[in-house]
């Protein structure tokens, strides 16, 4: 039982954190469109759900605090309170505080913030209730809602639809009760359709003005609980009747008139059948009147049946619940197991090849296909849209630009681009550094921008796009751009370069990735300490990615991160150089050709002519200092490195290989050209080559195309 309670509380925490994340995004969206009723309702619903769940799980402090915010958004929802920047800021602060409350005990500072926020919200809501219009005047939004009592296309999961049958006693008016006020109150609780019954209104001579003869059915879709609806009628006299029924929307959405009348106990099913049997069908009438032929009617009916059937099948095919929540730990375990299975499959493949048994080969191939399919599905499960972290940066830019007295808009593009969960998790810190830098150093102060003829509002764009097996993430600002001369001066001052060095601007920019390098003379709370960019590069490189800079003075800077889609399993090409085996990521491989042996034995790098195109290459035997010489024709594996191609000379190309990436020990960290290792079918280890770093070796040795 205890375990069950723990599990339930765990679910509450997971859902609450999800809701708080959603709340942040919704609030930032609401700030952009403060009139958007859908967003207002979304914020209200989130606060309402957090309050309800927190109360249910005994987090009374969270529940009572959330109540204050919910009250404010209830007023916003009913059009009595405007969405202001101050309200959004207070709600964002409250959202952070709720997170802290859920994490544990509040510090003295947190308690002070809590008191401040409660006072602020009370002030907002009290001020509003003083200005509340007299009850008979409806706010425009409520009136709009009442005047168009249509059922929404989709109601929130937490909402329920009730049928309320309200039969006031005839003496209700005499007791001073106002039925219209009750109907008004119900209308404010959600979306209401009010149906009046006039059947009991007597003749003109018999009518007594102080008596109430009208009764109502109210169909109300609301997030409020049944007892809250009952509370509306709490002061009714005993003779008045109120019946509240919950309607099953799913069941009733296709209900016909007769079924609703039966459900309301107004008529029996037999009576319905009797009357229906008397009713002539439209097709029969049209045929009798010689307007259309029987064949035409039959054809139209057949078409109608077909459409019904297709629609029915479509509904059946739609999964009722298309997602389940699985802990990331379990997912990681699954990936490990699939990795082991892939290694096992490779070993089995090797043995099968050695045994030369056609039956075994056929079974192995079938098994391999299944394992590969399982691998792809499992890898797909780890893919998440990068928007899951992108949305956090809206808040970062909002708060930072306010602190720095700048006005900056963050544009997000490609949020739906998917990447491996592990890559996304490790990407957060580098992105935070880059965005902070763009906001602080990149975008100028509004007066400086205006003086340069730019728009006073700065612009930072965060975008993600797929590029083969990589994802390119770009953080681009329209600020001042990097100043090559300042960087050169700072580089000389720090002894990284000398005044005599003739260094191209692009290489100078690389200096900003050196530890402690900053051209900013002023250290702010945000940036300027020179800590960050080196961490950015280190983190990106550890993910198997790269960082490049595109900048133009006065126009802005872009940092482009190139990251692999996944870090777990890749398709590789197995090659042999001497006795060593290496894996080249298959997504980088362009083609394999025979090497004509033009390179000298001791050469590390040179050029090769591939159908008229001169490509630089690395002789891996020389680069890795592998002893012995080949006594056969070598091969060149041509690989893509971002925009250019290079060749890698190997002894033999073995073939494709499912590569489960294992990290290298620290001993190998300093060696350029390795990105990991994998275990082969026979238990030996193969090094995975880092194509990007190998091409860097070529750049360093300054090989020029002929």
């Amino acid at each position: 039982m205890l375990l069950m309670n723990e599990k339930i509380t765990e679910v509450f925490f997971e859902e609450a954190y999800d809701l708080l994340d959603q709340l942040e995004s919704r609030l930032l969206e609401l700030e952009e469109s403060p009139q958007d009723e859908e967003r207002i309702s979304a914020v209200f619903r989130i606060m309402h759900t957090i309050k309800g769940s927190a109360g249910m799980f005994g987090f009374d402090v969270v529940a009572s605090f959330t109540h204050e915010i919910e009250t404010a958004y209830d007023l916003v929802r009913s059009g009595k309170l405007a969405v202001t920047k101050a309200l959004i800021t207070a709600t964002l602060e409250s959202r952070d505080l709720i997170r802290t409350m859920m994490a544990g005990e509040l510090s003295a500072d947190d308690e002070a913030l809590k008191t401040k926020l409660i006072t602020e919200f009370k002030k907002i809501t009290n001020k509003e209730s003083d200005n509340e219009p007299p009850p008979e005047v409806l706010s425009s939004s409520v009136r709009e809602q009442l005047q168009a009592p249509s059922i929404p296309e989709s109601t929130a999961e937490s909402e329920t639809t009730y049928r309320i049958r309200f039969k006031p006693s005839k003496d209700m008016l005499f007791y001073g009760a106002r039925p219209l006020a009750l109907l008004h109150e119900l209308s404010q609780m959600g979306i209401a359709t009010i149906i009046p019954y006039f059947d009991n209104v007597p003749t003109l001579s018999e009518i007594e003005p102080e008596k109430c003869y009208i009764s109502w059915d109210i169909v109300l879709t609301t997030g409020k609980a049944r007892n809250e609806i009952e509370d509306v009628f709490i002061f009714l006299d005993d003779a008045s009747k109120v019946e509240i029924h919950v309607l099953d929307i799913e069941k009733m959405q296709s209900c016909k008139l007769g079924e609703i009348l039966v459900e309301r106990d107004l008529i029996s099913r037999n009576d319905i059948d009797t009357f229906l049997s008397r009713q002539k069908r439209l097709g029969d009438i049209l045929v009798e009147e010689n307007i259309v032929s029987r064949a035409a009617v039959d054809s139209a009916l057949a078409e109608q049946n077909h459409i019904k059937k297709v629609a029915q099948n479509k509904r059946t095919a739609e999964p009722e619940n298309n997602s389940v929540r699985v802990s990331s730990e379990k997912l990681d375990q699954l990936i490990d197991l699939v990795g082991e299975l892939v290694t096992f499959s490779a070993r089995l493949g090797q043995l099968t090849g050695e045994m030369n048994n056609p039956t075994l080969s056929s079974v192995y191939e079938q098994g391999e296909r299944l394992i590969l399919s399982l691998r792809d599905t499992t890898m797909d499960m780890r893919m998440l849209p990068i928007g899951t972290i992108f949305s956090r940066y809206k808040r970062l830019v909002r708060d930072l630009s306010a602190d720095l007295k700048k006005s900056i808009e963050l544009e997000i593009e490609g949020a739906e681009t998917e990447m491996d969960k592990t890559v996304i998790e490790k990407l957060n810190d580098p992105l935070v550094h880059l965005i902070r830098n763009a906001v602080d150093h990149g975008v100028e102060m509004p007066d400086v921008r205006t003086a340069c003829g730019k728009n006073a509002e700065g612009h930072v764009k965060l975008s993600a796009t797929h590029a083969g097996a990589f994802v390119l993430i770009e953080i681009r600002d329209d600020g001042a751009g990097l100043d090559a001369e300042k960087i050169r001066a700072k580089g000389i001052e720090r002894g990284l370069i000398t005044a005599q060095d003739d260094i191209a601007d692009q290489d100078l920019y690389d200096l900003i990735f050196e530890p402690g390098f900053s051209t900013n003379s002023k250290v702010t709370a945000v940036s300027g300490r020179g800590v960050g960019m080196d961490v950015v590069r280190k983190n990106i490189l550890s993910l198997g990615g790269s960082v490049s800079i595109d900048t133009k003075k006065g126009e802005g800077t872009a940092f482009i991160l190139k990251l692999p889609l996944t870090l777990a399993i890749i398709d590789g090409m197995l090659v042999r150089v001497g006795d060593a085996t290496y894996v080249i990521p298959l997504n980088s491989v362009v083609e394999c050709i025979e090497f004509d042996g033009a390179a000298g034995e001791g050469d590390l790098c040179s050029c090769i002519n591939v159908r008229g195109e001169y490509l630089p290459f690395i002789n891996l035997r020389n680069y890795f200092d592998i002893s012995g010489s080949d006594n056969q024709k070598q091969q060149v594996v041509i690989v893509n490195d971002q925009d250019s191609k290079i060749g890698l000379i190997v002894d033999t190309v073995i073939g494709n290989y499912q590569t489960v990436i294992k990290p290298l020990s620290r001993l190998y960290k300093t060696i350029d050209g390795f990105s990991g290792a994998t275990i082969l079918g026979d238990g030996s280890v193969a090094i995975i080559l880092d194509v990007y770093k190998l091409s860097g070796v070529i750049r360093k040795t300054d090989v020029r195309n002929a």
Binding site: E136, V137, L138, R143, L146, Q147, A148, P149, L173, P179, L180, L183, H184, S187, I194, I195, P196, F198, V201, P202, T203, L204, S205, I207, P209, E210, C212, Y213, I214, W216
Partner: protein, 118 residues
């Protein structure tokens, strides 16, 4: 209103707040209007407030007109002064026209204006 269909029909403007206080007097007035004429048109454009008493009275007048085979019609737009009450009662701009049809057997022109109560 289609002008010229029934020139003898009275057009009565409803200007008082139709609450219990006035309802009995108005009931008498409407009854006599139905008795003495071929019917009448009730103009609700200027009624300051239309509450349940008023709505019930309209229903009763309509039912009486049907029984006596007289004409009863309502004129006046769905104005803001009365909309809140009508909306709360289930009448909306969308079904307002059908309400008018419900009360009206024959469209009749307005001929002069009497005042329901002063």
């Amino acid at each position: 209103m289609n002008a010229g269909m029934n020139p003898n029909l009275k057009n009565v403007a409803w200007t008082n707040p139709l609450t219990v206080e006035y309802a009995l007097q108005n009931r008498e007035l409407f009854d006599s209007l139905l008795f003495e004429n071929s019917g009448f048109v009730l103009d609700i454009s200027d009624v300051p407030k239309l509450d349940i008493t008023g709505i019930q009275l309209i229903i009763a007048v309509y039912q009486e007109s049907v029984r006596k085979n007289k004409i009863f019609d309502i004129t006046g737009s769905f104005n803001s002064a009365i909309s809140a009450e009508l909306v709360a009662c289930g009448v909306t701009p969308q079904n307002w026209m059908s309400w008018k049809e419900y009360f009206t057997k024959l469209n009749t022109p307005a001929q002069g204006k009497d005042v329901a109560h002063e």
